[in-house]
């Protein structure tokens, strides 16, 4: 395609997108009046509320873009742009975690100082090696401008239209986040919240405190939007690599993304200020980037997967446990053992930093419902055990991988079912509540009905033989059963119970797997 044609195409698409955003704002204003809702962020500082949140979105985006640009040849320009906001937000979070954990004065200034040092080191190191390799060509330039305008316009739209659901937990995250912003360190009076409210979702609200706005609805909505677009891109890239023609791949990606993004529960949790959508997208990208790494051996994919894994560990209290079990499964999926071992140890190290810092502040006798010394030790211990297992298996049991894989799945199943059936009444009650919530009370509505119907069809028409992603799903579901068994209280009826919301964490991956399997049936060659 010549450059003028490309320019016209991107220009037209950009105008169409901007028009859609404008129409969306108008429609939502009308809907607000129809449903007689109060005005958006009323009061004299309403406008600064919107502007400050948009500024935060823009800063996160540019933070990520600057770090990713040196790798644009490895990632491709489109993927670089789609990752920019996600990586920027997580970079903000990781720097914040380091500052808080090591009791360094925490403020916007210290965050930016650390960021500048990080960026300087990266640019100095990488640009010295490949000074001209990452120069932007004309096509890259067009994509850079296109996606920058689209993402900033989306950020402004989502800041102006506060699609948000506040739950009880949201208020806790908001309060704790604002405490970090105002106190600049961990403080004693907030310890009881720290045990249940993990850092990644809390720091969204800290950003609200630092940038000067109320409730980080746009920061989270942008995460959901960027994650959804990246889902579509990865689906497109995957089916394209499998041999599907370009147009059909594009339609596959569009339909798959629409199916995910239109789901009521996906949207609902996407805009509810709780960590579930964050965890769901983190598990998706952890797995999909490792899947891509296994096919391409592109180190960038491995590093991206690691970023999302560490983010998962700091998003949910059971995050490290989920990571350990999934890595245990991945140990048998023919990934380079040394690299997977390092990956696992780095994850364990990242988690250990958080736990050591936490208990150094709250004391070793701290016991919360969600976090305690024994649970933390178990999580770190499991991660380290998986790391050593990966290396040991490679050295001594390489020829028995298949048998060990089966043994691992059996062990997980026995563990989950064994723990669950120790209290039969609780187990039965939890299963009944989970069933009711999936179909009737949890507002999943068409989501799980769709997954089951399409899943059954996919089983019969798929041409995929590689079950790398598929195998992670039963491991996660079994782990969920075990988590329910460890809870003190039974599950609640209604989506609101965090136990039920754990099911959202596997939903994006399930949809990706479904779409990938269905798409394989329409390919011309077998994968």
């Amino acid at each position: 395609m010549n450059s003028n044609k490309r320019l016209i195409r991107y220009g037209t698409a950009l105008l169409a997108v901007l028009l859609c955003f404008a129409v969306f704002i108008v429609i939502m204003n009308i809907a607000r009046d129809v449903y007689k809702q109060p005005a958006i962020a009323s009061g004299e500082d309403a406008e600064s509320n919107i502007v400050n949140q948009f500024l935060a979105v823009a800063v996160m985006f540019f933070m990520g873009l600057l770090l990713l640009l040196p790798f644009k040849n490895r990632l491709g320009m489109t993927q670089t742009m789609l990752l920019a906001y996600l990586v920027g937000l997580l970079t903000f979070d990781f720097i914040s975690i380091l500052l808080l954990s090591f009791h360094i004065y925490y403020a916007l200034s210290s965050i930016f100082i650390v960021y500048c040092v990080l960026a300087a080191v990266m640019y100095g190191f990488f640009l010295r090696k490949q000074s001209r390799a990452n120069a932007l060509d004309k096509e890259d330039g067009i994509k850079l401008i296109f996606w920058t305008v689209v993402i900033l316009a989306a950020g402004y739209t989502l800041s102006r239209v506060p699609l948000s659901i506040l739950s009880y937990d949201s208020i806790q995250y908001d309060l704790l986040g604002k405490v970090y912003a105002s106190e600049h360190y961990y403080v004693e009076y907030a310890y009881y919240l720290m045990g249940g409210q993990m850092l990644v979702p809390t720091l969204l609200n800290t950003a609200a405190g630092l940038f000067g706005f109320s409730f980080a609805y746009a920061l989270q909505n942008m995460f959901t939007l960027s994650g959804t677009l990246l889902f579509g891109y990865l689906l497109y890239a995957g089916v394209r690599a499998g041999g599907m023609v370009k147009k059909r791949s594009l339609w596959t990606a569009i339909l798959g993304t629409l199916l995910l993004a239109s789901g009521f529960f996906y949207v609902f949790l996407g805009i509810t200020l709780v960590p579930n959508i964050l965890a769901g997208l983190e598990i998706l990208f952890m797995m999909v980037y490792l899947y891509r790494y296994r096919q391409t051996e592109n180190t960038a994919d491995l590093v991206l997967s690691l970023i999302f894994t560490i983010a998962l560990c700091y998003t949910r209290v059971e995050g490290p446990l989920v990571a350990a079990f999934l890595l245990g499964y991945l140990a048998h999926q023919h990934l380079p053992a040394k690299k997977l071992g390092i990956y696992t140890f780095v994850t364990a190290g990242a988690v250990l930093v958080g736990y050591v810092s936490f208990f150094a502040h709250v004391g070793l006798d701290y016991t919360g419902d969600f976090l305690s010394l024994d649970k933390s030790a178990l999580s770190v211990g499991l991660l380290l055990a998986v790391g050593f297992y990966v290396l040991a298996k490679e050295k001594w049991f390489k020829d028995y991988n298949r048998q060990l894989s089966v043994l691992y799945l059996i062990a997980v199943a026995l563990f989950a079912l064994g723990i669950s059936t120790m209290d039969m009444a609780k187990f039965v009650n939890n299963l009944k509540v989970m069933y009711l919530n999936i179909f009737a009370e949890g507002m999943w509505v068409t989501a799980w009905i769709g997954v089951i119907l399409l899943g059954v069809l996919a089983m019969f028409i798929t041409r995929k033989t590689d079950t790398f992603l598929e195998g992670a799903i039963p491991v996660y579901l079994l782990l969920t059963l075990a988590v329910f068994a460890f809870r003190t209280a039974n599950l609640h009826i209604n989506w609101s119970d965090s136990g039920n919301r754990l099911l959202m964490h596997i939903y994006p991956l399930m949809m990706f797997v479904l779409a990938d399997n269905l798409a394989s049936a329409f390919r011309t060659k077998v994968e």
Binding site: P38, L166, S262, L457
Partner: protein, 250 residues
């Protein structure tokens, strides 16, 4: 030849059994979803029957077709994907759905929350505030003290523990929690075992009621409403409709 056929047959049988189990699990859910969202047993039963017949029809046609089986199933998959997308979009914007659900993305505009909470803190200083709080805040003395202390920095006070109405064993509070709550009586409203009954009584006795996540029939959209019936998180009309339905079911 026979030995080579067996693994393929086992795989086919496995897929068929797996599909049957999943569909058998799903179908009652269709009926339950109908009851929950439509409220009519007749319509729910009809939806159940339509789904079941549809699945049987697709399976029967697939079995009859030999050469065109995969093409047929691919077409069904495509139609289903498009249908689900439309159904999803419909549920997002349907007023009927909105009226029967306590939350929706469309009417989630909220006022300046913290400002409101600060106003609430001032106006509720000497009033009883009935708050639906999770049990875990009352687990230990230090947590209780910290929770109380911390809650003084916010607009709401934790005043009672929510007992899950569906929990088979009532009285899930520990002895320590019960004692603590009894000691708070006077400063806080009573705690509840029968959530819905007590919520109705509490509306008559307390000045403000805040319900959070643990409220089964009252989700987070019902965030706070005052004596005059003004609601900040959802239109009162919708809340009233839902509340009346709930009380009718009791």
């Amino acid at each position: 030849m026979e030995k080579q056929k067996k693994p393929k047959d086992i795989k086919k049988i496995g897929k068929a059994v797996g599909a049957a189990v999943l569909l058998a699990l799903m179908l009652p859910g269709v009926y339950l979803a109908g009851i929950r969202y439509v409220g009519s047993k007749t319509i729910s039963a009809a939806a159940f029957a339509a789904c079941a017949l549809g699945i049987i029809a697709v399976a029967a046609i697939a079995l009859i077709l030999k050469n065109k089986r995969t093409a047929f199933l691919k077409a069904v998959a495509l139609i289903l994907v498009c249908g689900l997308i439309l159904a999803n979009l419909g549920t997002l914007i349907s007023p009927y759905f909105i009226a029967h659900n306590t939350t929706t993305i469309l009417n989630r505009y909220y006022p300046d929350t913290l400002k409101y909470m600060a106003q609430l803190q001032e106006s509720t200083k000497d009033k009883t505030v009935w708050v639906d709080a999770d049990n875990d805040y009352f687990d230990s003395d230090s947590e209780k003290d910290t929770a109380t202390d911390f809650s003084n920095r916010t607009a709401v006070r934790y005043s009672c523990a929510d007992i899950q109405t569906l929990d088979p064993s009532p009285g899930v509070l520990t002895a320590g929690q019960e004692e603590w709550l009894k000691a708070q009586k006077g400063q806080y409203a009573q705690y509840t075992i029968n959530y819905d009954k007590d919520l109705k009584e509490a509306r008559e006795e307390t000045d403000y009621i805040y319900t959070g996540l643990s409220a089964d029939q009252y989700s987070d959209m019902v965030f706070l409403f005052g004596e005059s019936g003004d609601a900040y998180w959802m239109p009162m009309a919708i809340y009233d409709t839902m509340t009346e339905e709930t009380y009718e079911q009791q």
